[in-house]
Structures are given as structure tokens and as C-alpha cells.
């Protein structure tokens, strides 16, 4: 069994126009930098991107937005990105804003074979529009559904060639659930180690979920808010 592909270009080779893809990361922390670069070079268009955030103007998903490759963003917070705002206001870009916990659970549900679930987040707000509401134990809940995603692209710290993944710090964020939710899951990692090197007790995502794997290069790991103490 060998899930390793040569590079990002090879990993994203069959992502077609109008595909739905999940992209891991929180802000710019733990984003699949190499795969995003490859998608920009490939020039696929009409993408629906499920990602907590939309990058910044010149990094992350922002690079794909700039090339107008994204038709729709499904996110919880899209932050400051002038190009994003321009495309949204002009109607070129569609945005579906979802409470972050609901987004995370919908992604988890996608990988776990749960078609839908009830959550209290958004009850009594515009998020509830058109959704089934049900009362449990005196509290109101909304019915939320799993996604359908052609691809999930995640970034991990270490992996072996079977696709067992380990993350570092808060870079686990959406990556761990997304890895389980793609019809095809692509993992780019900082280091691929020999099988048997990773302690099975410490593996965050089992290889069963991962279809393609490559060792990324030149990680920039840009920091949005470098905040230090003396």
C-alpha cells in the first residue's frame, strides 16, 4: 500500500471545475499551503470551498479568490479581505455563513455517516430560516445536515505512508474532521516518517481516511497577529 504522490500538482490532478472541496485550517494556521498553490496553478474554476475562513488577500484561499476560482465559500468568519468583499458585493461570489460549531459538527457528521443532527446554535436568528426546529427537554434546536464533499485537503505535521496523521498545536483545528469527510482526502504534511515510527497512541487521524499523501515544501506558516510579551 502506498498513498504517497510526488507533489501537490499530482495530488490535485483530478480536481475539476465546479468541485466541492474542504480546506483545513483556522485563519492561516494549518492551511494546506502547497495544495492551494497547486490549485491556483491548475486554474480550476467554479469551486465551492468549505473552510472556516477565506484566507487573506495574498495568502491561503485569498490566492484562489483573486484568480476568481471560487464560486461559493462556506465559512464561519471571512474577516478582512478587500477582494473578497468586492466579489461578494458584485455578486460574483456566493457566501454561506455558518456558526463555527455547526460548521465543525457538519464536517464531523459528513465523515462519520451521520446525515443530520440537532443543535441549539442559531435558534431564533436568521440562521434558522427554512430549517426544521424541534424541542428537546424544553430547549429549541435546529436540524443541520452533513455536507457532500468531493475532496478534502488537509495539512498535518507528520504522517507515515499509510496515511496515519499527527498534527501540531492548534493546527489540528478543522483538519482532523475534514480528513475524514472527503470522498477523496488529500493530506499534505511537513514530514513523512517510516512506518512504525509514529506511536499508535499518538495518532490523531488513522490512515483509513487518507487517500493521497505528499510531503509539502517551503512552508511559510504566515502569522496573522504576531503578538508577543516581553
Amino acid at each position: 500500500m502506498n498513498k504517497i504522490v510526488a507533489n501537490a500538482t499530482e495530488a490535485v490532478r483530478d480536481i475539476q471545475d465546479n468541485a466541492t472541496i474542504m480546506l483545513g485550517g483556522f485563519g492561516l494556521c494549518g492551511i494546506p499551503e502547497n495544495s492551494i498553490t497547486a490549485l491556483v496553478a491548475k486554474g480550476v474554476k467554479g469551486l465551492t470551498c468549505i473552510s472556516n475562513n477565506a484566507g487573506v488577500e495574498d495568502f491561503g484561499i485569498g490566492l484562489m479568490l483573486k484568480q476568481r476560482q471560487v464560486k461559493k465559500m462556506i465559512s464561519s468568519y471571512v474577516g478582512e479581505n478587500a477582494e473578497f468583499e468586492r466579489q461578494l458585493l458584485s455578486g460574483e461570489l456566493e457566501v454561506d455563513l455558518i456558526p463555527q460549531g455547526t460548521l465543525a459538527e457538519r464536517i464531523r457528521a459528513t465523515g462519520a455517516g451521520i446525515p443530520a443532527f440537532f443543535t441549539p446554535a442559531g435558534y431564533g436568528t436568521e440562521v434558522a430560516n427554512g430549517k426544521e426546529v424541534r424541542e428537546f427537554n424544553g430547549k429549541m434546536y435546529l436540524l443541520e445536515h452533513a455536507f457532500q464533499s468531493d475532496f478534502a485537503i488537509v495539512k498535518a505535521w507528520k504522517a507515515d505512508r499509510y496515511g496515519n496523521l499527527m498534527f501540531k498545536g492548534t493546527a489540528r483545528n478543522f483538519n482532523a474532521m475534514m480528513a475524514k469527510a472527503g470522498k477523496i482526502t488529500i493530506a499534505e504534511v511537513e514530514e513523512i516518517v517510516e512506518v512504525g515510527t509514529l506511536d499508535p497512541n499518538h495518532i490523531h487521524v488513522a490512515g483509513v481516511y487518507v487517500h493521497r499523501l505528499f510531503q509539502g515544501q517551503n512552508y511559510e506558516k504566515r502569522i496573522e497577529q504576531r503578538t508577543v510579551s516581553k
Binding site: 478543522f174 482532523a176 496573522e224
Partner: protein, 218 residues
């Protein structure tokens, strides 16, 4: 004198108890971490997957893989735990967080809160705010009593799109500490030197004033 943002944070910090697991929102809530009382150990939760958030790192300890929900670089305290975003919100939704502090644009006398969207302005998204307000057992809203134009932010009904309905029970402003129950704001404490009349004048929602309103103690 009305409180400044740091004083609001300091008064909220008095609500912390030893062993609390706490989620602090962006803005004034973040400042609460600077005033944790002596002898009180709390675990700060960051919704992007960290329980046991520490201080900002020194320059040589900056790690791009370790940030908080405001995307700032942070550190971990000994005993910290890391997890994914679904797990983080399971913690929140499941009611495991003892205290949540967040900012707001408007709060109503029925406990509704609006803090994510202003019509005709660029919408950035609700992030985790809707999950937090819908699930947390113990929420303190930290905000200014009025907007920069002097309009009350404590209203009979929220004018802005809601973040959550009937979920806020306590509000700490630069003028007062209030409890929301039975469709009214109940005045618990006033900022030092601030009169009950001023608080009444700046509260558009129904305000219940007890006979004696103590000043906040610092």
C-alpha cells in the same frame, strides 16, 4: 466615573472561581485574563482547539502553529490540552465551560443578544458566537453601556440581527453590573461615582432598581 475597558475586565475577573474553565471573546473579554485573582487557577479555552491558554509568547517562542481564536500567537500552560474544532465546540455545546465572557452591540431585556451583523455593512460572519450564546450556562456580556453616539445598548428589543435568543443573564458595562430576568434589567451594582439616575437615563430597556445599589468594589 464610568469604568474604562480594563476596569470592566477587572470587575468581571472577580466572578472567576478556582478551577473554572473559561472562554473569553475578543475585545474587552480578552482583557479579563490580565486580572485573574491571586490563588484562583482557571483554564482558558480557545475555540480553535486549546484548553489551558497561556500568555503571549516571547519573540523567540513564537510558534505559527499555536494561536488563539483571535489569530494571535499564544503559549500553553502546563496541563494544557489540544483538540480539533468539533471537539472544541462539543465542549462548549455540551455545557462544560463554566464561564463565557463576550462582547455585544445590543442586549435586550429578554436576554437576546446581537453582536455579529450590521445591515448594509460588510458581514464578516458569526464565528463561534452563536454556538457560545446558545449553549453556555453562565454568560457575562462585557460592553459599553451606550454606543459612541450615546444611544443605549440595553434595549427593550434588539434592533440588529440576533446572535442568540433569551440567552444572556448578566451584563457588565462601564456604568453598571446588571442581571436579566423576568423581562427586565435588574441593577446589581453601579460603577464608583456613577449615579442610579445616569444608569436609568442610559438604559432604554426596562430597568428594575432596588432600594440600595452598591458601588462596585475593586
Amino acid at each position: 466615573m464610568a469604568l474604562d475597558k480594563n476596569q470592566i475586565a477587572r470587575r468581571i475577573a472577580q466572578e472567576l472561581r478556582d478551577g473554572y474553565y473559561v472562554n473569553l471573546g475578543i475585545g474587552i473579554p480578552t482583557l479579563v485574563a490580565n486580572y485573574i485573582p491571586e490563588g484562583v487557577n482557571v483554564f482558558l479555552q480557545s475555540e480553535n482547539g486549546l484548553l489551558g491558554m497561556g500568555a503571549f509568547p516571547t519573540e523567540e517562542n513564537v510558534d505559527a502553529d499555536l494561536i488563539n481564536a483571535g489569530k494571535q500567537t499564544v503559549t500553553m500552560i502546563p496541563g494544557a490540552a489540544l483538540f480539533d474544532s468539533a471537539e472544541s465546540f462539543a465542549m462548549i455545546r455540551g455545557g462544560h465551560i463554566d464561564l463565557t465572557v463576550l462582547g455585544a452591540m445590543e442586549v435586550s431585556q429578554d436576554g437576546d443578544i446581537a453582536n455579529w451583523k450590521i445591515p448594509n455593512k460588510m458581514v464578516k460572519g458569526m464565528g463561534g458566537a452563536m454556538d457560545l450564546v446558545a449553549s453556555a450556562r453562565n454568560i457575562v456580556v462585557a460592553m459599553m453601556h451606550t454606543d459612541p453616539k450615546g444611544n443605549s445598548k440595553l434595549l427593550p428589543k434588539c434592533q440588529l440581527p440576533l446572535t442568540g435568543m433569551a440567552c444572556i443573564k448578566r451584563v457588565m458595562t462601564d456604568l453598571a453590573f446588571l442581571e436579566i430576568k423576568d423581562g427586565a434589567f435588574h441593577l446589581l451594582e453601579r460603577a464608583p461615582g456613577v449615579s442610579v439616575e445616569e444608569i436609568q437615563a442610559k438604559t432604554a430597556g426596562k430597568l428594575v432598581i432596588p432600594e440600595f445599589v452598591p458601588e462596585m468594589q475593586f
